[in-house]
Amino acid sequence: MDEVPMIQLLNPEGERVSNSEYESSLTPSEILGLYRDMAIIRRLCNEATSLQRQGQLALWAPVQGQEAAQIGAGHALAANDFSFPSYREHGIAWKRGVPPLDWLRLFRGVTMGGWDPVKYRHSNPTIVIGNQALNAVGYAMGIQRDAADEAVMTFFGDGGSSQGDIHEACVFAGVFNAPVVFFIQNNHWAISEPTIRQTRIPLFHRASGYGFPGVRVDGNDVLAVYEVTKRALDNARSGNGPSLIEAFTYRMGAHTTSDDPTRYRLEAELETWRLRDPLERVKSYLVRSHNEQQSTFDDIAAEADQMALDLREGLLSLPDPAPLSMFDHVYAEPHPFIEAGRRELIDLGFGGDA
């Protein structure tokens, strides 16, 4: 399944390669911007992992290895578009402007969500695999009714592709020609299960069963991911309907901080993918082809370090929610069972000051 051709514009060595269908439209400075994005989320993700190790987060789902897939796709989203993530899309959250501290709230256990989804046009993480794809299609049907110049993108994994909800999302999208892009990050693993447990042929072929385009892109090539996603979103916005992108990438870290990948995968595989690192190739390209100086990269690293520090500080000063807040938004309208629960908690003396 690895031998299938995929869209690539920048090879692992950092050399621009040409593709018959796609051309890179990004300027060197834009490419440097994408590098910065990737470097920052990698750094913040490392910080989150160490915060988890230190007991400050209940869990963390690292993004390492998938930075190009997420930053490329996230960069292609227009301000008015809307995105529906799974739980690992920190790179998309970053591109949508969600403050990094907000990514961590869920994993610290202080919220079920983390940010205002309407403000950032980026929905809260969806943990039940596959659910968000249907919600995304429904949202896209709303766009059609509003005749708005917007598109939706939804994210799921190679594992998620097996869920019934993903199928129904594709059926609805095809039937209604909804402006939605299904973005699969095929990172080769669903926890301990390799992709052959989900499919015996490449996943992008799924699209052909529904009558819309499917494409595999080198998910570690931010230039390619950006162009492929941008075209898909443009198509959606201009009434050409849904499409599916399989970003071929790799989860370099553990599934989550609770996971022990040494139980199920070999070091050799990691080694192969280290050579395809999404950041290194951009750096090589910028250095070799655009004479970018090391200091630029050092500055970015320093900036990322500072953000990591801020993140840590922010997290450590994050207050626990008031126990009574569990009753706050269960219903939008008054509800006697909620009132009774609130009273009980107060009577028990667990209500805090309220």
């Binding site: 659910n131 919600n135 049907m141 609805f172 939008a332």
Partner: protein, 328 residues
């Protein structure tokens, strides 16, 4: 006062129409709800009048219907989903429990899950398997949802509009065996809020708490009991979740005896919950244990023996006898 004699099915149809006229964000999605007007004709004529964008014949996929409705609600629409029959809601269960019920809380109150899921429910119509179930307890158990059930055309007309106007998700359970019963519908005087239970018949001896198709059966039983000199107070819940306990408790304080009647299987059910709660609330007033009359702990049976499964007048009267036997 403009009233009209309508069937409950037609009253819901008119209620949907009213809601769609009032608010352009209201839309319908379901299987066969367009040209066909739904298998019960509840949406008859609405696609013709409001177009295919507002009355959507969906692919045959209930998780899809509800999951798409969640997304539409996120965009500010007020979708009303039709599930064709009770037994076909389960493919959508995950979306209902994990998304419909929780998006409001998850988003910190930002997303309003202002959607309605209409389900023709309960049995008694001689149907084959999966067409006569009572899934309401699953939804009542699920925090984040409201569960309403109208039992006459007048209530139905107003309650469906109230459900659509609500910013909370409402599972709207329509007792399908009552679709063709007519009642006067007053389009100017709103019915009382859905969350208020309603005493359908006052009585001093036994409080009969019920909802759905059983309301009518209980009223028949009350009439029969009157012949034996027993006055049953029949209360129609209207809102199955939350339950209007103040109204129930006030009645129990008066009668001291309670039976709870519904078609659903009994274990971990709405009826059991009401029995437990009233037993607790009215401990000193109860003169007899609370008796439940319900379906049995079996799959809904073949229609030729559904009469024996359903709470019928005989079974209700038998329960009345049992609670009256107790001295206090």
């Amino acid at each position: 006062m403009t009233t009209e004699n309508l069937t409950m099915a037609k009253a819901i149809n008119e209620g949907l129409r009213g809601a769609m006229e009032k608010d352009s964000k209201v839309m319908l999605i379901g299987e066969d709800i367009g040209k066909l007007g739904g298998v019960f004709r509840v949406t008859d004529g609405l696609q013709k009048d409001f177009g295919e964008l507002r009355v959507v014949d969906a692919p045959l996929a209930e998780s899809g219907i509800v999951g798409a409705a969640v997304g539409l609600a996120m965009r500010g629409y007020r979708p009303v989903c039709e599930i064709q029959f009770d037994g076909f809601v389960y493919p959508a269960f995950d979306q209902i429990v994990s998304q419909v019920a929780k998006q409001h809380a998850r988003s910190g109150g930002v997303y309003k899950m202002a959607l309605v899921i209409r389900i023709p429910f309960e049995g008694g119509i001689g149907a084959i398997e999966h067409h006569s179930e009572s899934p309401e307890s699953y939804f009542a158990h699920t925090a984040g949802l409201r569960v309403y059930s109208p039992t006459n055309a007048y209530d139905a007309y107003w309650m469906i509009q109230e459900a659509i106007a609500s910013d909370d998700p409402v599972i709207f359970c329509e007792p399908k065996s009552r679709y063709w019963e007519k009642a006067e519908v007053d389009r100017e005087t709103p019915a009382r809020p859905a969350t208020e239970a309603q005493i359908r018949r006052a009585g001093s001896d036994v409080t009969v708490v019920t909802y759905g198709a059983s309301v009518k059966t209980c009223l028949r039983a009350a009439q029969a009991a009157e012949g034996e000199g027993r006055q049953l107070e029949v209360i129609d819940l209207r809102s199955i979740s939350p339950v209007d306990y103040p109204t129930l408790a006030a009645s129990v304080e008066k009668t001291g005896r309670v039976i709870v009647v519904s078609e659903a299987p009994p274990v971990a059910s709405v009826a059991g919950d009401i029995a437990a709660t009233l037993s607790e609330m009215c401990f000193y007033s109860l003169r007899a244990p609370i008796v439940r009359v319900s379906g049995y702990h079996v799959p809904y049976p073949p229609s030729r023996i559904e009469e024996e499964y359903l709470p019928n007048v005989d079974r209700i009267l038998d329960a009345v006898d049992r609670v009256m036997e107790f001295e206090s």
